[in-house]
Subunit: 533 residues, 2 copies
C-alpha cells in the first residue's frame, strides 16, 4: 500500500478507498497534474505513474472532491494536513544485514522519546549518545511512537499516518540511519506502534473506507475495525505497517500499544495474525523479530503459543510489577495504587509476572487477570518508571523527585536483577530530575482547547492550576532531559550503579536466563523485606 | 439471589443494588408492609423476613422512591411491570432424581415454542403430546426461552426476568411438571437462555446496578456488563441463573443464545466460567448437563477444551450447514445465502462442521471463521429449519411451503443421517404448513409502534404491506401448529419417514457416533450429488 518507488522516476500508487467511486492522484510537486487511478478488486485503486521522482508530493482526490493525504503515506514533509511525499528508501545503503540481534532473555530496554532526549529532538541528535547507552549495558533502544502526529511536540500516541516517520524527528531516512547506528553499537531497536486508535487531528482515514467502527468504544477515539465488513483490508493495512518496519527499517521488535483496545471478535484474533505474519517475514530474512504487548488485561493468552490457544506474542508489559514496586517505594495509595502496597504484592509479581491473576481488584471493582502458567519470566517486561507511569501523573514527576537516592538504587536493583526483561525510562539511569509531562501541539484550535480541558478534568482533584498546559511549548521544554547532570557526582554514581547491576545481570549465571522453577520468593511483610532466591 | 423460601412463612430476600443507598422490601400481598433490607458487602441488600407465605407479592423500593420488581424474580404473576411473587419449589415433589440423561452423541433435538405448539400455549397442554414425540425418536425437547417477557405472545428473546418462568405459559411449577413429564418419556429437556441482552420492556435492571455497558454494541439492546466495574456480580447473576435451571428444574442442558453478543475481554471469559460452574454443579448431582452455544463467529474456541485455550462448551449450532442445505434446496441466493449454493459448500460443512473456516465471505465482506481441529462432529448442532431460519423470513414460511415433498425428505435425510447432532423445528416432522412469524405483545405503545416499524424496515425490499404486524394477535395465531394435519396422508408419511431415519441413526453402527476420521465426503457439483461415506 502507499507509494512504492520503483526507480527511474516510476512509482506504484495503491490505496484502499472503497468509499470512493473514483480516486485520482493529484501530484502537486514538482509539477502539478492529476492522474486517475484504476479500480482494483476489494476497493483498491492503483496505478504505476512515471515522472514522479522521490520527493514528489501528492494527494489523493476522492470522487473528484475531497483532497486527502495518503493513509499509507511514507512521509508528510509539511505535517498531517499537507501532501504526502514519495520516498525512495532503496537509495540508502543498508549495511547491517548481518546484525544478529539479541536472544530474548538478553533484552534490556531503554525507552526513549525522540523529541525530548536532546534539545534538537531528532534521530540524528541521539546518535552521539549511543556509545554512552551501550556502555550502560542496555541492549535495546525502544522508541516511543514515531508515526506522523500533528505539530512538532507529542508523545506519539496521536499519530495519524502509521507508515510516515515524523517529519520533525527527521523523517524516514533519518530513522534508517538511526537504526543502523544502533546496530553498529550492538543495540537492538524496538518501535512503539499504535494499532488501537488514531489521533484526533489529521485523521482522514474515515474518508477512504471503514477503518473505524462504532461497535466498540476506546478511551482515545474511534475503535479500529478489525472484525467488521472490510476488516480484511484494515488488518492488512496494519500488518503491512508492522512488516514495513521490519523489512525496510530492520527494527528488532515492536511494542504494541494498549492491545486491550484492539477489539476483535473474529475466530483468528488480529494479534495472532500479526504475530504469524511478522514471524514469517523475519524468518525469511533469518532474523528474530519480537512482538511485545502493552495490555491492561493481565491475560497470558496474549503470550501463550498457538497450540494452547494463545496469540503467540513474545512478551507483555507488567504494569502490576511497577505498581507493586511504586506503592512500596512511595506509599502512594490513590488511583490504581490502592490495589497495591504490601510486600506480598511484589512477591506475587516475582512469582507470577502479574499480581492480579483472578483476584478481586478494589480499584477495578471486579476480579482481574488470569494465571500465567505456560509462560516464562522472560515474557514479562518490568520497570520502575516508564513514559506512562511518569507522564500520567498530573505534574509528570519522575521517581527521582518522589523518593530518596537509596530508594532509587533499590528500585534499580529490583528491576534489573529481576527474572523479567527490564525497561529503563530515559534519564532514569542518572536520576534525571526534569519531569516528563504530557505535551501536544495540536493546530486545530478547538482540539487544542479540548486537550487542555480534558487534562485539567482528569486531574481535577489536584486543583486545575497545578496541571501544566499540554499545548504550551514550555511544558514540552520542561520535559527535556538534561544529560549534563551526568557530570555531577550523584547522577554519575547512579549511572555507575545501573551499569554494575546490568553487568551482574548479564554475567551472573542465575540471572542470565532465570526460570520460575529455580526461584523461591518470600515476603516478610512486617520487616518490609522481599527475599528472592 | 432473589427470594428464597425457607419454609414456615420465612423467606430470604437478597438483591444486588449498588446504585441504591437504601433498599426496602415492599410486600403488597397478602398484607401490605415495608421491611428495610440490610446492606451487605459489594452492593448487596438482604433480610430474612417472616410471614411471607409462598405467593406473597413484593417490590423492591430503591432509595424510598423507585418501586421495582425483583431482577431475580422467580415469578411475575401479573407480568413484567407487576410485583414479583415468592415461590416455594420445595413443595413440589421431584420424582426423577435417577433420570440418567442421554450421552451427547445420542441427542436429537426438537425445538419447541410453548406459546404456539398448542392452542392453549402452556407447558401443561404439551404434555399429552410427549408420547408422540418420544415415538418419533427425538431424545431432547429444546424449549425456546421461557423467561418472563412482556405480554402473552413472544418468541422469548424479549425476556426481562431471567429467573421467572413466563406466567402465561404456566409459571415455574408448570415448567417443573413439564420437565418431569419429559423425563418420564425418556426425553431430555434443554432450555434456550438469553445472556446477551434483555428485552426493551419491563427491563428495570439498570436501576439496580451496572448490569449494562456502553462499551459494546449489540443489535438488540444494551450489552450486558461482563467485564467492567461490578461485573463479578453481573456474571454471578447469570451463572446463578444457569444453576437455577440445572438444580431446581433438572434441565439437561442450556442453549446459549447468540453468544457473539456476550462481550467479555477479561482474562477468563464469561462462557468459560459458566461452563466450569455448570459442570461442577452437575457433577455434584452425578449428572451431565450440556451447554450448547448459538454463535455467529464460527470459532471453535467456544467448544475446545480448556487445556488448549477453549471455553469448554459442549457444542455449538452450525448455521453454515443450514445455509448450505437451504441454498441447494431452494436456489435462494439473497442475504446470507449468497455465500452458499454449491454442493461443495455442503460437503465442506460435512467435513468441518462449518463452511467458512477462514475463507472470504462476500456477504460479510471479510474472512470468516476458523478451523475446527480438535473438535468432534457431535459438537455441532445442525438443522434444515429452526425458529430463526423460518421466522426471520418476512412471511415466516416453513420449508414445507418452499420446496417439494421429495425435497423435504431429502432435507430430513441430510440432517438426520449427518454425523452431527440434528435439530428438528416443531412441526417439521409432518410438514406443518402454518408459518412461524415474528410476533410480540408489547404493552408500551411507543415500543409496539417501534417493533412494527423495525420489522417493516427490515424487509423493505419485499414491500411493507407483505410483512405481518408482529403486534397483531392474528400473526401469533397464524403461527400455531395444526397437529391435526398428522391425520392426513402426506404428513403422516413424512412423520413415518422422519421416524425411520431416526431409527436408522440410533441403530446403524456407522451413524451412532461418527468421527471425521471415518468419513469421506465428495461433492459432484455438476450432478448436484453429495457423497458421504
Amino acid at each position: 500500500m502507499g507509494a512504492t518507488y520503483l526507480g527511474e522516476g516510476r512509482c506504484r500508487f495503491r490505496v484502499w478507498a472503497p468509499y470512493a467511486d473514483t480516486v485520482a492522484l493529484h501530484i502537486v510537486a514538482p509539477e502539478d497534474r492529476i492522474v486517475p487511478l484504476n479500480r482494483a478488486p476489494r476497493g483498491y485503486y492503483e496505478a504505476v505513474v512515471s515522472t514522479v521522482p522521490p520527493g514528489s508530493r501528492y494527494f489523493y482526490l476522492l470522487d473528484g472532491k475531497k483532497e486527502r493525504p495518503d493513509p499509507a503515506s511514507r512521509y508528510q514533509p509539511e505535517g498531517v494536513h499537507g501532501p504526502s511525499a514519495v520516498v525512495d528508501l532503496t537509495r540508502q545503503p543498508w549495511p547491517d544485514e548481518r546484525w544478529p540481534g539479541h536472544p530474548q532473555e538478553e533484552l534490556i530496554f531503554y525507552e526513549l522519546h525522540v523529541g525530548t532526549f536532546t534539545p534538537e529532538g531528532t534521530f540524528q541528535a541521539i546518535i552521539p549518545y549511543l556509545p554512552e547507552l551501550a556502555a550502560l549495558g542496555i541492549t535495546a533502544v525502544e522508541l516511543m511512537p514515531v508515526a506522523q502526529f500533528p505539530g512538532s511536540r507529542n508523545w506519539g500516541y496521536d499519530g495519524v499516518y502509521p507508515f510516515a516517520v515524523q517529519n520533525t524527528y527527521g523523517g524516514p531516512h533519518a530513522l534508517r540511519q538511526f537504526v543502523a547506528a544502533c546496530h553498529q553499537q550492538g543495540l537492538s531497536v524496538f518501535l512503539d506502534v499504535v494499532y488501537n486508535h488514531l489521533g484526533p487531528e489529521g485523521n482522514y482515514l474515515g474518508d477512504f473506507g471503514p477503518y473505524f467502527t462504532d461497535r466498540y468504544q476506546t478511551p482515545w477515539g474511534r475503535a479500529i475495525n478489525f472484525d467488521g465488513p472490510g476488516s480484511d483490508e484494515v488488518r492488512r493495512f496494519f500488518i503491512e505497517n508492522a512488516l514495513y518496519w521490519v523489512t525496510e527499517f530492520a527494527v528488532d521488535g515492536l511494542r504494541l500499544d494498549a492491545v486491550h483496545a484492539i477489539f476483535d471478535q473474529s475466530a483468528r484474533h488480529f494479534l495472532e495474525e500479526l504475530a504469524a505474519s511478522v514471524r514469517q517475514a523475519a524468518a525469511k530474512r533469518g532474523r528474530r523479530v519480537y512482538l511485545i504487548a502493552e495490555s491492561d488485561l493481565n491475560n497470558a493468552r496474549l503470550i501463550r503459543p498457538l497450540v494452547v490457544g494463545g496469540y503467540g506474542l513474545d512478551a507483555q508489559w507488567s504494569d502490576d510489577f511497577h505498581h507493586a514496586l511504586h506503592a512500596l517505594l512511595t506509599g502512594e495509595a490513590n488511583g490504581y495504587y490502592r490495589d497495591f502496597g504490601q510486600v506480598e504484592h511484589l512477591a506475587k509479581a516475582f512469582r507470577c509476572g502479574f499480581v492480579y491473576t483472578g483476584e478481586y481488584s478494589a480499584y477495578r471493582e471486579r476480579r482481574h487477570g488470569g494465571a500465567t502458567e505456560l509462560c516464562a519470566p522472560k515474557q514479562f517486561v518490568v520497570f520502575a518508571q516508564n513514559h506512562d507511569q511518569v507522564g500520567n501523573r498530573a505534574l509528570g514527576e519522575r521517581l527521582s523527585t518522589l523518593v530518596s537516592f537509596p530508594a532509587l538504587k533499590l528500585a534499580a536493583g529490583v528491576v534489573l536483577l529481576s527474572p523479567f526483561l527490564p525497561l529503563i525510562f530515559m534519564g532514569e539511569e542518572y536520576g534525571e530530575t526534569a519531569p516528563f509531562q504530557y505535551f501536544t501541539s495540536h493546530t486545530a484550535p478547538e482540539l487544542a482547547a479540548a486537550v487542555v480541558k480534558g487534562r485539567r478534568a482528569e486531574f481535577a482533584r489536584f486543583g486545575w492550576a497545578a496541571v501544566p498546559d499540554p499545548q504550551d511549548e514550555a511544558t514540552f521544554r520542561r520535559s527535556r532531559l538534561h544529560r549534563e547532570q551526568l557530570q555531577e557526582d550523584q547522577p554519575r554514581a547512579l549511572f555507575a550503579f545501573y551499569r554494575e547491576l546490568i553487568r551482574l545481570r548479564r554475567t551472573l549465571p542465575p540471572l542470565t536466563n532465570p526460570s520460575w522453577e529455580q526461584m523461591a520468593v518470600t515476603a516478610f511483610e512486617h520487616e518490609r523485606v522481599l527475599l528472592v532466591r
